[in-house]
Symmetry: C2
């Protein structure tokens, strides 16, 4: 008997029929002797419906007071789906109770629409579990110290589930979703992509930050901080699948590096189309320039990803960086208005037709030549690399968007990811 946390995404909660299946699956786990805590998302489409109504009513000013109301509004989606799941569990003959974030309470800071969990009180939940109840806790939301409802931002239910699992020291946190695990890359791009049975926490963190959308990055960070064993698996298997088989399915995100197993050098390939590049040509190569440029961009709340400064020629240098594609035009306008005039109005070039492709693998730590193998593969396909960034366990390149699929397939083959490893 173990304490297990299940998390179900919006698609898994998308209709009363699906909610019923979730209830039956959870009941199966409870009947097998486990203490069960479940964190559901809102029914799919519900959060968008609510925020759509708000958008029709909202003015142009987006004050903190406005964001507070958006959170109070959006939080109702999870409150409703949690109550519905609890009703379905009761109909299955289980004792069950649902709690909104403020009832647990799940304490967050006051950053409306993107709050961070600070603590979770486990007293109420443990009391219920001890009485044999299944406890349903709303995902995505919490309450700040002043009693305002907060939400954690898109995908926040993953983070809720991991935080709940950490607070309760759960044996495992199972993230049920509409894919059956973490793949070497997106199977829609590479049909030979293979599901990973295990992936290290650090690799998962890189993949999440590099564009793999299986798990919200903050949930992975949280799992890492509190060492919560995390499993991603499908909610579309039959609910009455054998529980031992189910418990081994999907992908386990691990913290222990298994010494006996041969580490794959590269575990997966992540990519994102959400990037755009900005280059400023011929800026004075002197201290404070990078700060002037990037500081202005940061003030506008635009996040910068990769940054490159070329070697200086005649006291001038070229400065390039990437931002989210949605912020591209705004960032260029900002630079033209606030920065470039002070720098003698150098030329600024924007390119929204780029993409980022990354190889990720914990084995890169101990193997040399991985990056150069990547560059060689791309070169063999005639793909020009525009920017490069590396970390201990990943190498990312920016290339022309039109080569994305070609690059991912070439790299998948070059690193033999289609072959069953370990």
């Amino acid at each position: 008997m173990a304490l297990i946390v299940h998390k179900y995404g919006g698609t898994s909660m998308g209709s009363t029929e699906r909610i019923q299946n979730v209830a039956r699956r959870v009941a199966k786990w409870a009947r097998a002797g486990h203490q069960m805590v479940v964190v559901p998302s809102a029914m799919s489409g519900e959060t968008n419906r609510l925020l759509g109504l708000a958008k029709e009513l909202a003015g142009s000013a987006h004050s903190d007071a406005h964001l507070r109301e958006l959170d109070a509004l959006a939080a109702t989606g999870e409150q409703a789906s949690s109550a519905l799941l609890t009703i379905a569990l009761q109909a299955e003959g289980m004792q069950a109770v649902s709690y909104a974030g403020w009832q647990v309470p799940v304490r967050t800071n006051s950053a409306f629409t993107k709050a961070r969990i600070e603590s979770i009180d486990d007293v109420r939940v443990r009391h219920d579990l001890a009485q044999g109840k299944v406890v349903i806790i709303t995902g995505f939301q919490g309450v700040d110290l002043e009693g305002h409802i907060t939400t954690l931002g898109r995908g926040g239910s993953d983070t809720s589930a991991v935080a709940v699992a950490a607070a309760l020291k759960a044996a495992e946190c199972l993230i049920y979703t509409d894919v059956d695990g973490v793949y070497t890359t997106d199977p829609r791009v590479v049909p030979e992509a293979r599901r990973l049975h295990t992936v290290s926490f650090e690799e998962m963190l890189e993949m999440a930050s590099l564009g793999s959308k299986v798990l919200q990055i903050r949930s992975v960070e949280f799992a890492g901080k509190y060492r919560v064993p995390l499993r991603v698996l499908s909610s579309f298997t039959p609910w009455d699948i054998d529980i031992k088989e189910e418990a081994k399915s999907g992908t386990l995100i691990t913290f222990e590096e298994d010494e006996q197993m041969e580490q794959a050098i590269v575990s997966g390939i992540a990519f994102t189309r959400d990037e755009a590049k900005i280059s400023i040509i011929g800026v004075p190569d002197k201290p404070g320039i990078a700060h002037k440029i990037l500081g202005t961009v940061a003030e506008a709340n635009i996040e910068v990803d990769m940054i490159i400064q070329n070697i200086s020629k005649g006291g001038l240098t070229d400065f390039s960086f990437t931002v989210n594609r949605n912020d591209h035009a705004r960032a260029i306008d900002m630079l033209k208005a606030k920065v470039l005039p002070e720098l003698g109005n150098p030329e600024v070039l924007g390119d929204a037709k780029i993409c980022k492709v990354s190889i990720v693998g914990i084995g890169m730590r101990s193997h040399v030549g991985v990056a150069s193998k990547m560059f060689a593969s791309l070169s063999a396909e005639g793909i020009n690399i525009q920017m490069i960034s590396t970390s201990e366990i990943k190498t990312s390149v920016v290339i022309d968007e039109k080569y994305l699929e070609l690059a991912v397939r070439a790299l998948h083959k070059a690193f033999e990811l289609e072959q069953n490893q370990a």
Copy 2:
């Protein structure tokens, strides 16, 4: 400058366009210098949608744990509409903040789905009002001492608004709804029905309990207990109607009997089709029989309205009572199974084709012959009276359902209600 509470029903909140109109109306009142508190219902249809989903999932057992979840679910409707109204007010340039029942808090007992308000904390709300904010408080819901969400039952937002007005000692509580006031009777039955400018609290209480659906009866009781001046008015006047005109529109429910004004003997005529009659023919006329019959009915949670016991003939009597039409068949089955065998299986007659018509007027206290005028009018139309019940300010009769409209029109004319009084 006064503290004013507005309450808006589901129809008034039925779309983003209507919510915008509510926001503009409230903003107008705030700009006129009033401290404004607003209690909105859920958008029309929302509560039914949510409870419909619950019904699809619910099993047959309806435990307290189940009712708890229904409340957590249904409460989301008002939480969402309150946040939307606040967003619309902010877009109008107002400072505004919304609070769910638990945030105020609105304390209730733990009777899920039909909770009663026990206290309302005014500290937070007064603080916001002092800062010039419009405060939006969710209707229909509260929180019990253990921190469970409760709801007040259908129409509970009226009660919420009155309770909030009482707690804040508001100058007036304005109930905005889809009718423009309280009428002498339903204008769909009597086109000559006239809107009352004022009606006494006691009359309103009788009308609400006798079938007039303008206000939930518990909200009227609450207004009576705390002497909250209450006004029922239309939310479908243009939002920019002159505020002085608006402040005098609709119907005011008063507590002061105006000595200078001639009291109308009869203020209105209420009726309901929701009744059914049960008669037990020839039961032993001895102590304990009424208790045996009505006790059994009460145990099944069936409410009894009128009760009549005929005079005894040869030690036997006839016993009749009315119940809600929905409970009719169940009540008869219950009697046949549990009571009648002990009484020698007397004959039981059911009649679901009846209705109740009532005349209500505070002037009946000081005028004799009002009831007999009622009976004479009905007799003149050839309408047979099956049951009669009276109180200080009302007389009700049960008649054949097919005579309902005829009876209401005849009485409306007999008591000259179409003429403008006072």
